[in-house]
Symmetry: C2
Subunit: 757 residues, 2 copies
């Protein structure tokens, strides 16, 4: 029988407004410390708040007007694609330049000191250079914009899901993110530059689609129609897709990523626009990189990471290899769960002890120095020398103690940007690495990557995961080949590297459909679709048994009321009556200004949406009364700011009629109630909410089961759902947080505590 | 200003039940004749009808039970994939065998008579062989299962959209479809075998997921939980995806096809399962074909159509070619619109005059004979001789009047299965065709294909479209090359053939996202993504200006209440009050059996869903009363059949309590009311609907705008939506048909007449 195993009651019960991220979710049964910085999240409303003003505007608009809007949407998506592609291009070139310069300097230094002795000086040089880059990136992130830390994928996932973490789509965040990611990759950390592209794409989209920048205080008076949550969300999902597309050269993968993470309601035209943005983004990147590389017209660099081409003929797989691949998938799931668990405990530790910005920067510096030291030691003690082939010319190959015409094989893995290391693991000839090198590399890089994720630097986890997986995958391939030395089919360890990379990445991030398509597009080979899919599936199943995905862990640690795809399977016996908040603060259709100001100023409740009721004067009972609309805090604030008051004598005080434009201008940074001054006289005035409220909010009866309420929320993107009794009186209000509390644990339905403390 | 330009009032206003396909939509302003066969459509309910029985079952189920259900879903998807792959394999092998035999016989005959004279005998032989095949296929379709005609894609689109055309997912339909498509392809018609695979996949899914076959009267007592519309729809979308996947070797394309056409509510796990079915399907096909071709383990036949591999190096495109591609897209749109218009008029003609089965078979025979005659004539008068190269060995090359060591180039296009013709247009060396040959071929094949689509044979339009496009695309390539003889980049007309094929197909079917991905996967080359996308986009925009897509035309001609993605843009001023049906037939919570039987038997209204109301005995007013539930005709029929009556004395007559199983056993072929005998005594009994009705139907206030109602329908898959007033009394009911009536025409909002006459 389903039952709630952990029920935590709470004292103060708020609405979804100002969801503070300082909750204490019960994850694995242990109390989690509060994050040091309070992150106050905002629920987004993707249901169209249609009020009379909006309907009037729509009615005035001609079919031609709608067509123009549609064209603007396409133009915006094109712009998003171009800008995202340009940002990716900028990051790529800067990283190449800086890393190339760094490796060149260190290489010359090492070569000099290999002969004369005293390689410890090279080590110090390497560590200092790394630390210098990481210092810049760390300071930017820790002091200027902490939200730019990490890959930004959890934040974008939350945004598309309907929870906005403040400052996540601001211009400043974008600038810090871009500089930060350049610094951390050039600084030699075990990070990738791909994840942050998704965040960058989202910020670009949020900026372009609004036709203004609040940070730069410029309003281009364009695209004003799109200044609301629904439209902005659609563009942000296009931006995220464009980011994926530029990062991996995977436009279809980008579209699927956006859909998998965000779009609850699939719309053909929207998807098509998202695809357009993705295509433009990868094309722009390709175009400019081809010019930069001096080969204009050669469209062979569709993404930041280029896995190189897997030709079907040389690396075909056979169906009897599929069980082997599946075992690798299981291994990937196990290693992924280990990675996530370690990172989870590390994050708890960081929340508890490493919360001051200067401490965070110091930790980042420590990691940078340790990374350099470990890499150097591994290379120094490695005696895996390989002959220099023609394919090595573009790499930074180190000779070190090897004979002339040979290079140190460990150095191709460590002394390189991670993207290039992945590519060499995929494509180098059999025999380019010896098993010992790969084993040691996997081990050290695993712990380095795990330590690095969550530092106060902008960095992605995709490439390190791929690199770890490619290393142990190639190792598997070599071992298999050594068991069956006569059979030619095991000849190519590159394909095992690919499968290993997929397994490890799948085990860590637990993405499925989109990741399959991304991998297929990045390898440029459709025939690997089936094994990659199976591997990702197995990795997810095995991994989920032990631990959640990395992004989900970080989302949960922030106490975000994240709504999954469906209500927990065993929740049919819960009804709206049990999940709703009650009693609800309602307003009258014509309400006293003083009452409104008082309710909005009440910080203990901090409600965000208010049912509007019409109370018959005759009835003596105070509450409840008949529902006739729903109004948001943000709308009330705009009304108060513009003083749309009615004197008791019913003549309008306000000079001009409030228009939709006034709401759009204030979007999305509505001022707090404290900044609005209302005089004592004005408090006695009345406000007529009729024109501004949504006159037809969705309601459900109180016996509606949780799955039905959930579906309504998820499919329509609701923020508030009114629960009404059989004569349409308000008896409760369901918000996102009320639904996000329930989840299916190992022992049945569990209830998380997501409320403020 | 938005306004309804064409408003047609109707006399009898029914519910969505028994939607007869004999409406007279006003398409292009002309009255359309009724189709001869009445097709009575059924709306599907994708909103979970949760009643007390269902909730009790869910409550009894343990978390482990839900896990088992989830595993069964995966198993079913695997089975769907395997079976669909096997069917594709069977079709492929049969077509190859039969067509190979046919072409061999004719070739020998032609060779014989080329020397001795009297080729007219060969022509007659060709025509007779074609007619023989088409006769078998035509009789099967016209006499046994008319629903198996055509590609079945419009029918599957309707099913996924929520309208079931009867017999569309039956086993008999599948058998007729498979045999029919083998006959029509082997019979040399201008058709493909790919479209029908989508329908076949859907039927397989509908059968497997229900764990029984009503046609074979076998119930395996499995998967009983899935016997309802929502679950079945999910599996059918997986089946359709598996069909696409097997047809084109495009698993991702299959998933996107299903989503584009069907899934209004995107669910991660569902999508993942659909992807699984697609992957298994293409793998199964690949596996068995590789064994059949004697090369086990060689996984290079992922689909029925194999476009051959476009290697990036040899056929790279340059960005300055993109405008040229876009012009070809516009041409494709124009030609597509022309094709659709011709086919539209032809279909009208057929509905009017060719409605008897024997006439339909005769038309099919005529087309088969004409196709043979035209092909023969074209080959006979062609003097385009080309030298035999090594790549020709697998084709049926005709020497005819060419010199020894040469073959007739026109014959590679006509004397071949269409799939092989497409492949040769894509990949043969420059110079393999002369422009005259291609021009004539395009022209004749265009009209043949247009005439063929809509015949009473199972046949797809994908391959003929691709073939027409590839022919004129290659022609464009050759012409361009002749303008710039010195430049090497125009050297390969194959890539222009590919772009032309995409443009023509896009112009005819107007699919966008999924078609791009299908084309990319079928060519095995990701770099062509951008040009193919742009071409499809332009083709759609240009085509839509003149005429709708082919499938949409055929859906409209059947008066299906098809819901598009969004409500028309200019419909914000319409409210639920204006679109709803009113007054509504309601039942009391405890209702007299006689009343129920009378209402259900009333053929003039033919309602399908009934609000259940609780009427206070005190109130004298008859109607309306408070809403307390919603019950479906099908549920009432099961109740009547099992005689779940309550005597007036309130003791139960029924021996056993009705269980969910009884409803599931009756699904989906609920008996008609006429077949249920209710005695005069029983008519006086009462029925208590409380346990069986959905106690929490979704409701909207009467002022809700059409777009909001529409979104609710589309996102939740509703069939009925109750419109309630401010005290929760029923004042109307919105059904799918009420919403499908409105669409945006050239002059603003138009209202179609979809009602029965």
């Amino acid at each position: 029988m389903a039952n709630i195993t952990k029920k935590v009651s709470w004292s103060s019960r708020g609405d979804d407004s100002g969801l503070t991220g300082e909750g204490t979710p019960l994850l694995n049964g242990s109390e989690i410390p509060k994050p040091s910085r309070q992150v106050s999240m905002v629920s987004l409303d993707y249901d169209n708040i249609e009020n009379q003003l909006f309907l009037e505007e729509e009615r005035r608009m001609s079919p031609m007007g709608f067509r123009c809007l549609e064209i603007s949407r396409w133009v915006i998506c094109g712009l998003i694609g171009i800008l995202t592609g340009l940002i990716a291009c900028f990051i790529d070139i800067m990283v190449e330049k800086l890393a190339g310069y760094k490796y060149q300097v260190i290489k010359e230094n090492i070569e000099k000191f290999t002969e004369v002795g005293g390689l410890s000086i090279s080590l110090i040089l390497w560590a200092v250079l790394n630390c210098a880059f990481v210092l810049v990136g760390g300071i930017m992130v820790a002091f200027f914009e902490p939200i730019a830390a990490g890959s930004g994928i959890p934040q974008i996932k939350c945004y598309l899901n309907g929870v906005k973490i403040p400052r996540v789509v601001r211009l400043k965040t974008l600038v810090v993110k871009v500089i930060g990611v350049i610094c951390s990759v050039a600084g030699g950390l075990a990070v990738g530059k791909e994840g942050p592209m998704i965040h960058s794409g989202g910020v670009v989209a949020a900026g372009v689609s609004q036709g203004r920048s609040t940070s730069l205080k410029r309003d281009f008076k364009m695209f004003e129609y799109f200044r609301r949550d629904t439209e902005k969300r659609d563009f942000v999902s296009a931006g995220a897709a464009a980011g994926v597309s530029a990062a991996f050269g995977a436009p279809v993968g980008g579209v699927l990523f956006s859909l998998e993470e965000g779009a609850s309601f699939w719309n053909q035209m929207l998807t098509w626009r998202i695809f357009f943005a993705s295509m433009i983004s990868t094309f722009t990147l390709n175009f400019f990189l081809s010019i930069y590389h001096g080969k204009p017209g050669d469209l062979s660099n569709p993404g930041l990471i280029n896995f190189g081409r897997f030709e079907s003929d040389s690396v075909a797989y056979y169906y009897y290899e599929i069980p082997l691949f599946m075992c690798m998938g299981a291994l990937g799931g196990l290693l992924g769960a280990l990675f996530n668990s370690l990172n989870y405990w590390l994050t708890i530790f960081r929340i508890r002890y490493v919360h001051r910005p200067c401490l965070q920067v110091m930790e980042a510096l420590l990691v940078a120095a340790v990374t350099a030291a470990v890499s150097f030691t591994m290379i120094y003690f490695s005696n895996d020398c390989q002959p220099l082939g023609p394919e090595r010319n573009e790499e930074y190959s180190l000779q070190l103690f090897c004979a002339d015409g040979e290079y140190n094989s460990m150095a191709t893995a460590f002394f390189n940007t991670p993207e290039r290391s992945v590519r060499s693991l995929f494509h180098y000839q059999p025999g380019s690495y010896n098993p010992m090198t790969l084993g040691l590399f996997t081990l050290t890089y695993f712990f380095l990557a795990c330590w690095t994720y969550g530092l106060a630097v902008s960095a992605g986890v995709f490439i390190p995961s791929l690199l770890i997986g490619a290393a142990w995958g190639r190792l598997c391939g070599i071992l298999l080949a050594s068991f069956t030395p006569t059979s030619p089919i095991w000849a190519d360890p590159g394909k095992y590297a690919l499968i290993g990379a997929a397994a490890q990445l799948g085990g860590i991030v637990r993405m499925t459909l989109s990741l399959t398509v991304i991998m297929v597009e990045a390898t440029g080979n459709v025939t690997y679709g089936l094994p990659i899919m199976l591997v990702l599936m197995i990795a997810k199943i095995v991994g989920d048994y032990f631990q959640e995905g990395l992004y989900d862990i970080h989302i949960k640690l922030q106490s975000v009321p994240f709504l999954h795809w469906e209500a927990p399977a065993t929740s049919h016996w819960l009804t709206a009556r049990e999940v709703m908040s009650s009693p609800v603060t309602c307003f009258n259709r014509i309400e006293k200004v003083g009452t409104i100001v008082d309710v909005l100023s009440n910080t203990s409740t901090n409600h965000n949406g208010f049912p509007v009721v019409s109370r018959l004067e005759l009835t003596q009972e105070k509450n409840p009364a008949k529902l006739c609309g729903l109004i948001l805090r943000s709308q009330l604030i705009v009304l108060l700011k513009h003083k749309v008051f009615v004197e008791l004598a019913r003549s309008r005080l306000s000079q001009r009629k409030l228009q939709l434009k006034d709401f759009r201008d204030a979007y999305p940074r509505f001022p707090p109630i404290q900044s609005i001054h209302v005089s004592q006289d004005e408090r006695e005035c009345m406000m007529d909410l009729t024109e501004f409220m949504n006159p037809t909010p969705y309601t459900v009866p109180q016996d509606t089961s949780l799955p039905r309420v959930f579906k309504l929320f998820r499919a329509l993107g609701l923020r508030h759902l009114v629960v009404a009794d059989d004569v349409n009186r308000v008896i409760g209000l369901v918000t996102r947080k009320d639904l996000a509390r329930y989840h299916l644990g190992k022992h049945g339905l569990e209830e998380l505590q997501l409320a403020q403390t």
